[in-house]
């Protein structure tokens, strides 16, 4: 039954040339389709690869830019901090300088006032001394005239006596005056 219709031996390794031809035609047809469509598909794939690469590149560039800006900001911030510190230092110095100046001025003023007071005192003293000298002279002569009983009418003699007296007085007075000072 199996070989009943057998107009030929069923050799499974047979190759019929008509089938071979049909197979060739089929293969060529399909290959033509694939090869015709191929460049467009590859163009799309290449374009995709390009875009991905471009995207990566852009991202890297943006990242670098961001990093640069960050760096700039950091530098600016540091600069601001340094500026602030410098200003603070300067302010401190200024304050110290102002204080020192004020103190110096105050001292100078005090000194000036003190000196003026001293000068005034000295002047007053001189004045009082001169006045006192005249008065003491008059009193002395008057007193001496009363004691001696005669008037020292001779002005020259009178003056000599007074001066001598006062010189003595002054000599003793210098010592006491030094103590006061």
């Amino acid at each position: 039954m199996i070989l009943a219709q057998g107009h030929e031996e069923p050799n499974i390794l047979r190759i019929h040339w008509d089938e071979f031809t049909f197979g060739t035609i089929a293969f060529v047809l399909f290959a033509v389709v694939v090869y015709r469509m191929w460049p467009r598909l590859m163009a799309a794939l290449d374009e995709r690869a390009n875009q991905i690469e471009g995207g990566i590149e852009r991202a890297q560039k943006a990242e670098a830019e961001a990093e640069e800006i960050r760096q700039q900001y950091r530098e600016k911030l540091e600069e601001a901090h340094r500026e602030y510190a410098r200003e603070l230092e300067k302010a401190k110095e200024q304050r110290a300088a102002i204080i020192a100046e004020a103190r110096e001025e105050a001292q100078a003023e005090a000194q000036r006032i003190l000196d003026a007071a001293h000068a005034q005192i000295e002047a007053d003293r001189q004045h009082a001394f001169a006045q006192l000298r005249g008065e003491i002279g008059a009193l002395s002569t008057d007193l001496a005239a009363r004691i001696v009983g005669e008037t020292l009418s001779d002005t020259a003699a009178q003056n000599r006596v007074i001066d001598r007296f006062l010189d003595e007085l002054e000599r003793s007075g210098t010592a006491s005056q030094a103590e006061v000072r």
Binding site: L13, I15, F30, Y35, R40, A44
Partner: protein, 280 residues
């Protein structure tokens, strides 16, 4: 199903002594619808019909998936790209390196074409893998054989190509009289033959196996057995087991079909890579 050789109504547990008749290689010799009447021709048979279907399916698949390729792929385009990426990364780059990129379209063609022809064995109504007829794998193997020689000769010249294929490097001179004929027969005669037969034989055997399961399931299905309802039930159980086996082997066969397409393309790629490389 594949029971052309079987008598109608022949089932297990019958009462007229009809035994199981396994499907034979007759499966692969469909009766021609039109005969050419020329020697060495098969005429127009089911193989031609299935081949036409497979070719149209392949062409339509590739045309409709890649006719308008976009940078952002559609679903269909992604499928086509999957084939390209698979062939490029798993086959040509591994065997030929970057220089093999120009053979990617050829290898994609081969892979899809062979796989489609194989899968025809599972399409209901067709159920005949085109590659189970040696003529069709032979077309492809012969093409690769010619291309292999053409690439080798164009790259290295006639002498260098044949020398590289017949005289392996590092073989001592006194062995050459033995080695050269072996290499020559191996590379120029046996290899293209096995390249075609490997694909053919696996598809042939797989198809026959599925046919046996289908025929057995058909044969064992006899619920109205004249030997009584018990044996009728048993026959249904047998039939169910055969059906299960058929389904399992169908899935397995699908895997084999893909693997065979891969193996054929891989070998083609290895051969052409070898021709490009010249002597080792």
């Amino acid at each position: 199903m594949h029971s052309a050789a079987q008598e109608e109504g022949c089932h297990i547990f019958n009462d007229f002594g009809c035994g199981f008749q396994a499907p034979t290689t007759e499966l692969f010799f469909p009766a021609p619808w039109v005969e050419f009447g020329l020697p060495g021709t098969s005429g127009i048979t089911k193989y031609l019909l299935v081949l036409i279907v497979a070719t149209l399916v392949s062409m339509a698949f590739w045309y409709f998936t890649t006719r308008n390729p976009k940078v952002v792929p559609t679903r269909a385009q992604s499928v086509a790209e999957l084939f390209v990426a698979f062939v490029r990364d798993q086959i040509t780059r591994n065997t030929m390196g970057k220089a093999g990129d120009k053979y990617i379209p050829l290898m994609v063609t081969l892979f899809i074409f062979i796989f489609t022809m194989n899968v025809m064995g599972l399409i209901p109504g067709l159920q005949l893998p085109v590659t189970s007829n040696l003529a069709f794998p032979a077309v492809l193997a012969l093409f690769i054989y010619l291309l292999w020689n053409a690439v080798g000769i164009r790259r290295h010249g006639v002498g260098a190509h044949f020398k590289a294929r017949m005289v392996p490097a590092g073989v001592p001179g006194y062995l050459l009289p033995v080695v050269v004929p072996i290499e020559a027969i191996s590379n120029f005669v046996i290899r293209p033959f096995t390249h075609a037969v490997r694909l053919f034989a696996v598809m042939f055997a797989g198809h026959l196996l599925l046919a046996v399961f289908a025929a057995a399931g058909f044969y064992m299905f006899n619920p109205m057995s004249p030997m009584g309802p018990v044996l009728g039930g048993v026959s249904v159980l047998y039939s169910g087991i055969a059906l299960f086996g058929f389904l399992v082997f169908t899935v397995f066969e699908l895997f084999i079909m893909a693997v065979q397409a891969y193996v054929f393309v891989l070998l083609a790629s290895v051969y052409i890579g070898e021709a490009m490389e010249g002597a080792h």
